[in-house]
């Protein structure tokens, strides 16, 4: 079946602009996760959504970052007033149950000029 889908695959934008990254999880997966992967910091947890519960935002690096998940499915990660240090690959993952692995999308490579 279809995997986790992310768009765009690449995004280049100027410093100070806002960006929106989209994630479409595997159908039926109740949990959705966002991570950031960069050379200096490795893989960092950003935020997760689990069912109808309030999201765990504890990994968001600043208040310029926000995310929402509409209808328990598609999620959007928004970065406002982008900075060069935001350049990274942003990965989305989803899972069905606690004891099953997360399935990752191909990521969005974000470059801030």
């Amino acid at each position: 079946g279809a995997g986790v889908s992310q768009s765009p695959s690449n995004k280049v934008t100027e410093k100070g602009k806002d960006v929106e990254l989209r994630c479409d999880p595997i159908s039926g997966h109740t949990a959705l996760y966002w991570y950031r992967q960069s050379l200096g910091q490795g893989l960092e947890f950003l935020i997760y959504f689990q069912g109808n519960s309030a999201p765990d935002k504890s990994g968001l690096p600043s208040d310029r970052f926000s995310a929402e998940r509409t209808g328990g499915s598609v999620s959007t990660l928004t970065i406002q007033r982008t900075q060069q240090e935001d350049s990274a690959v942003y990965l989305c993952a989803s899972s069905y149950k606690r004891d099953q692995p997360q399935h990752f999308g191909d990521g969005t490579r974000l470059s801030i000029l």
Partner: protein, 114 residues
């Protein structure tokens, strides 16, 4: 705060040899995951380890978990070039409502030379 450390971070080995990657973590958890990442690609799940003493094997890879020692190992037997990739362990920091809150190790970049 949960911390996860892998070693080695870089590993270059010859085909046919055996080696082990270690994953240590700092706080109690009984859920650990191993992932593989090829260059420019996303993460692929390899193993799910859910209890002390768990051992999983797939082909030339075998993973184990010792929750008392807070240690997992990924053993490679008779390595072949196709296993060249970066391997990550991730420990479940126990999110709310049954979600996983994974903390990843730094990754081990494995290069297998013919």
């Amino acid at each position: 705060e949960l911390k996860v450390e892998q070693n080695p971070l870089f590993l270059s080995m010859q085909e046919g040899k055996n080696y082990t990657i270690y994953c240590n973590y700092s706080t109690t958890s009984d859920r650990l995951y191993w992932y593989r990442q090829d260059p420019g690609k996303s993460l692929e799940s390899l193993f799910v380890l859910l209890s002390n003493g768990a051992v999983k094997q797939e082909g030339r890879l075998m993973a184990s978990l010792d929750t008392k020692a807070r240690l997992s190992t990924l053993h490679i037997t008779a390595a072949v070039h196709d296993l060249s990739a970066t391997y990550f362990c991730a420990v479940d920091g126990e999110g709310l409502q049954g979600a996983q809150k994974l903390v990843f190790g730094q990754g081990t970049r494995l290069t297998i030379n013919p």
